[in-house]
């Protein structure tokens, strides 16, 4: 693959994730408003928010590490764009993926969270560092069950760590979710996704009502806008990644109807995220750790064992 092609994929990945992510953000806010019996924001609200933020003044607080503070949002955005490009390329050419791209995706998906931590600590604000440390504990909590849940499709597809092979396997042998271990792993990964996206009940890092936006408290203008954009893009990338792993619903080669089907599933997952977010209170960080380590991880291990047994 030449450099030009690579840049092309990156641009396509970035644009697709940005546009779909903005839609996801609007959908989230609109459904929240409807749940609360309100009207909700107009369709182009995320665009207005982003353009406004990009045009505003960027303030670097006194005592902050200037380079880290300003570059942290870029790290997150870059990582999420690369993931999006990788996933979209895998869907278009499942044969051409490289060995271990699944692991690359898992690693890259944690970089936005790490960017939040870096930015929070660089901003020299006590509330922001509180948010940063909470984000760190949140990663420690959900990452183990998330990886265990991802092991299930890996085992099902014949112990491969190539995303393209997992996709092709599901196209011929049926979706991973059509088995007991697949269902358990999918539910677990949905819960981990809620934590990855830092949505209620796992929104401790930014907890608006207690630590005032937490990690983002000192961010303003374009830097804040990039962080917001990264969050919105994650709302496309993570559900899409799970759909590829568990449902394999993006087999556009079989029929064009599969794209409609995939879009419907994606909207269903978004609806799930939003409804969970609207019907649950925020958990404390120790409750989250207990929940993930004592409850979710054992279930994930059971799912992996079931997958080994072929169930």
């Amino acid at each position: 693959m030449s450099i030009v092609q690579g840049i092309g994929y990156l641009v396509i990945g970035f644009l697709a994730a940005a546009i779909i992510g903005m839609f996801a953000h609007w959908f989230d806010r609109k459904i929240t408003a409807r749940v609360q019996w309100r009207v909700g924001p107009p369709f182009f609200q995320p665009v207005y928010d982003l353009v406004k933020l990009l045009a505003k003044e960027v303030i670097v607080p006194e005592g902050a590490s200037r380079f880290l503070f300003l570059s942290a949002p870029l790290f997150g955005l870059a990582a999420v764009s690369v993931v999006s490009a990788l996933l979209i390329r895998t869907v278009i050419f499942p044969q051409q993926t490289f060995l271990g791209d699944l692991i690359v995706v898992i690693y890259l998906l944690t970089i936005p969270s790490q960017a939040v931590i870096l930015g929070a600590f660089a901003s020299a604000n006590p509330l922001a560092s509180l948010g940063g440390s909470r984000e760190m504990k949140l990663i420690l909590s959900y990452e183990l069950p998330f990886v265990l849940a991802i092991l299930v499709p890996v085992i099902k597809a014949g112990e491969t760590i190539k995303l393209g092979v997992i996709l092709q396997h599901q196209a011929t042998e049926g979706a991973v979710i059509a088995s007991i271990s697949g269902v358990i792993a999918f539910v677990i990964s949905l819960i981990c996704m809620q934590a990855k996206l830092a949505k209620v009940p796992f929104d401790v890092p930014e907890a608006e009502t207690e630590i005032m936006g937490g990690a983002y408290i000192e961010y303003s203008g374009a830097a804040l806008g990039l962080f917001k954009l990264t969050q919105w893009m994650m709302m496309f990338v993570v559900p899409f990644f799970l759909m590829m792993l568990f449902i394999g619903a993006v087999n556009w080669r079989q029929s064009w109807l599969n794209i409609v089907w995939a879009a419907l599933i994606y909207i269903g997952i978004l609806l799930f995220i939003t409804l969970v977010r609207n019907t649950n209170p925020r958990l404390r960080i120790d409750q989250i750790m207990k929940f993930f380590w004592a409850k979710i991880t054992p279930i994930a291990i059971v799912a992996v064992i079931l997958a080994f047994l072929g169930l």
Binding site: R29, A33, Q36, W37, R38, V39, G40, P41, P42, F44, Q45, V47, Y48, D49, L50, V51, K52, A55, K56, E57, V58, I59, E208, T209, M212, G213, Y216, I217, E218, Y219, S220, G221, L224
Partner: protein
């Protein structure tokens, strides 16, 4: 009208700055977000940090201690940011004008872009005030 300015008027994030109020105006501000008025229709959102704010809603008559902090908080906002005085207290100090712990009116401390009178002002009055502010800013830009 450029996209930048259109985006600014369509997405106003407000920061609620309570400078020793009696809480009446604050309750009316929160009323704006409830289903009856729902200002999120216009992209208006309440934010927790003043760095994210496009408009600062000041309530209360501002005593000695609140005055210093109010100055600092307003200086911390990212430009362009507008200051809106909500309620008679922050507009004119009302009956606290001669009180021992009050120093001066809000518009001596910071530039105020809109005054919304009332004790407390109705949510409709606040919406009208914000609309008037937007129109005044747009008219100033056209000149």
């Amino acid at each position: 009208m450029s996209l930048k300015i259109k985006a600014l008027t369509k997405s106003i994030w407000v920061f609620h700055l309570a400078a020793s109020p009696c809480n009446n105006c604050d309750i009316e501000i929160l009323d704006l977000l409830t289903p009856r008025y729902d200002v999120e229709r216009f992209g208006i959102q309440l934010v927790g940090s003043v760095r994210h704010a496009d408009a600062i809603l000041v309530t209360g008559s501002m005593n000695r201690k609140a005055r210093q902090r109010l100055k600092r908080v307003i200086a911390q906002a990212a430009k362009p940011c507008f200051v809106i005085a909500i309620g008679n207290c922050s507009c004119s100090m009302e009956m606290f004008a001669n009180s021992y712990n009050q120093m001066e009116c809000l518009d001596n401390v910071s530039e105020v872009h809109a005054y919304i009178a009332g004790c407390p002002p109705k949510p409709e009055a606040m919406i009208q005030g914000v609309v008037a502010l937007i129109q005044a800013q747009l008219a100033a830009l056209k000149k």
